[in-house]
Symmetry: C2
Subunit: 423 residues, 2 copies
């Protein structure tokens, strides 16, 4: 088989056969196809797409490039959640222990943040001692004993995706729905979960700016999951405003613990309970998760999870000593607080990274003291910027230019959940 013939076939709008796709993925994973040939193929796919049958084969070839975990020893129904990313999106931190407290096992293999969206592992690493790297044996034992693990995916999980993702990042071939869908789903299916709820975000702070793009991605992923025997549901959620009151690492952990303790902001509780109900439905657990946020049961699973990964749930988290306040420039109602602007500001303050090898600051981030719908007086604080290097403030403030709108009259908030797609 000649890779240039396969590239030409896709370039000219043809279909790739199952054997051709399997050969391409296998050969690229083993470096028998050069990066420049793979990137040309990815660009051709970006223009021409992959049909349902091609995408099913492409995804299963990525799964088969590594091992598929066997979670049968866990002894509980397994269900995971994946979000396509947002600003202030700490839902996993609350949701995973909550669903485990209801009796499911949540095997969340997670990633780190890149650009303006945060990563779950980066947030948890703000907890002193907490470890993201577990062996498969440790992961299985923790799932059996506590019902939840949030840890880094090992190199053996869908190695083809690891290589293709790095290549897409530098070749302008990220923005392809079949490539995004197969990347996410290959890792989640290889993880071994029986069922999966996807939080597919759309809006300024999301990767997908428009609902229709997000819907297409969601439908594609639900189809892939179902075809591979994973019960899959997708929630379409709005990401125009940061979720909750904070975007950063330690400050998001604090907000999550507050929510696990019966407090927390309404939007975070809303998305968490929506996702939890879908996860429990897929796991065939007939239980209302809401009370467990108030009665300490979800919190005690959180404590157990943090301790099992060498963290101290009672430890004080690092806090910023340098803070800068952004104040209202007029009196009125906040009508907009742009998630993208806040996300970029938090990133520039040090909460995020530009390249995957960059470190992140645990304390940096943005706290939202007031959110859309709130009545505010001229000069009142809206945002509080946390930073350990004040030299980072100007770039963060620049990212917030035009991110806040205040008007004489409030505008009605759009619902957080736009739709739920069940298989």
């Amino acid at each position: 088989m000649q890779v240039v013939d396969l590239i030409r076939t896709k370039r000219d709008g043809g279909r790739l056969g199952d054997d051709e796709i399997r050969w391409f993925i296998d050969s690229y994973t083993h470096a028998h196809i050069a990066d420049e040939q793979a990137s040309a193929m990815l660009m051709a796919i970006l223009f021409r797409g992959l049909d349902a049958a091609e995408l099913a084969t492409w995804t299963s070839a990525m799964i088969n490039s590594g091992e598929r975990m066997d979670l049968s020893s866990v002894g509980r129904p397994t269900v995971d959640k994946h979000s396509t990313g947002g600003v202030g999106d700490k839902a996993s931190l609350v949701l995973c222990p909550l669903v485990a407290a209801c009796g499911a096992a949540v095997p969340q293999l997670s990633g780190r943040g890149l650009g303006h969206t945060g990563g779950t592992l980066d947030k948890l690493e703000a907890i002193p001692g907490w470890q993201a790297l577990l062996t498969p044996v440790q992961m299985l034992r923790q799932l059996h004993d506590i019902g939840v693990v949030i840890c880094a995916a090992g190199p053996g999980l869908a190695p083809a995706d690891r290589k293709l993702y790095a290549l897409r990042d530098v070749t302008g071939t990220v923005e392809s729905i079949p490539l995004i869908a197969s990347s996410i789903m290959s890792k989640k299916i290889a993880e071994g979960t029986e069922s999966l709820v996807l939080d597919v975000t759309f809006g300024t702070g999301a990767f997908m700016k428009q609902l229709d793009q997000a819907r297409e991605l969601a439908e594609t992923m639900v189809r892939i999951g179902t075809a591979n025997g994973v019960r899959t549901t997708a929630v379409l959620s709005r990401m125009d405003t940061p979720l909750g009151r904070s975007a950063g690492n330690a400050i998001e952990v604090t907000e999550s613990v507050e929510t696990l303790s019966g407090g927390g902001p309404a939007d975070l509780i809303d998305i968490t309970l929506t996702l939890a109900r879908e996860m429990l439905a897929l796991a065939h657990i007939d239980m209302d998760p809401a009370p467990l946020l108030n009665d300490g049961r979800a919190l005690s699973v959180w404590d157990a999870m943090i301790r099992a990964q060498s963290g101290d749930p009672a430890a004080l988290l690092p806090v910023a000593t340098q803070r800068e306040v952004v104040r209202a420039e007029r009196t009125g109602y906040i009508t907009r607080l742009d998630a993208f602007g806040v996300g970029v500001a938090a990133w520039r303050l040090g909460a995020g990274r530009s390249r995957k090898e960059d470190p992140v600051s645990p304390i940096a981030g943005v706290v939202c003291l007031a959110k859309p719908g709130a009545r505010i007086e001229l000069g009142e604080p809206i945002l509080e910027l946390h930073v350990d290097d004040p030299g980072r403030l100007p770039a963060a403030l620049q990212a917030l230019q035009g991110a806040i709108s205040i008007a004489d009259e409030p505008v009605e908030a759009l619902p957080l959940i736009a739709d739920i797609l069940r298989a």
Copy 2:
């Protein structure tokens, strides 16, 4: 400047700015942009194209990646010819000495064959002693003294094209009109010629299968030449049948010498004189080239050219001892002799190469004993296959399956020259 931003711009249908194009070409030539990023850009260009302004900048950046030769010391009007390739296309071998005999200087920097189309240098190398590699000083002296040189382009000529061409070859990004046009024209413009006639072929044996594609390529190249101060004309010529009676190396030299001596097949004479007249017009030489094929003047320039490059024009050329004849399977008129089939057969017999580092056989090739229009009896020979390794015969015969059509009535031949585009 970030290359991934430029790739995204082109991918999404935007225009690249002049500085961006110059930076891209310069950075890629100096290996500051990775192959996988350049191939993604090339694939995006294949889908999105380059507009006239982008293409002008792209081509001049390729020219400026190396030196542009100065032919002012030659003391004659300079004019070159380039063909987009064909089967049995030995026109340069006759044309270049002929135009030089008329008083112009022809500085033909040429390439080698790849796939089913032959290369002028490969053909000339069938002549014992003949050297394709000349220094710039040797080339200028020969142009001054004899008026014609056919030699290999040095590495200093449009090095960006050299790198991009090799990349396109392995990444399925050859078939893009702006990329083809800029590749050809950057080398021809850097060569320093004042004027240029392009033989843009179309048909089964050509790179462009359809006349409309060939016309678009021709128009694009004429525009680039004119914009860069090179007077440029394009001839659109049909390549459905091999040109002349042979496709190979030594056998094409023999046929060329026959044509320079007042003989030769009508189609080769037709295309040669058409191209010669356009070249002489661009060189402002008011002269009919036809008589010089009969009176020995073109032949004596050929002899001088071969001798100047260490070849012996009187040497006997190598001939094949192994020959296989393909005979008519019925009686009637030959209505079709497919150039692509004959080209692939010659290639598989050893006349062409699959990879640029492969050697070619001087003696291998296909001789056409009868061509379309001829009346033929069952069992009469049509093709003679020349080979030095008989193991190559089966693959060559397979390539000729279906390449010959014979019917009860002759069909009218389509004209060889479809159109001429003058600036």
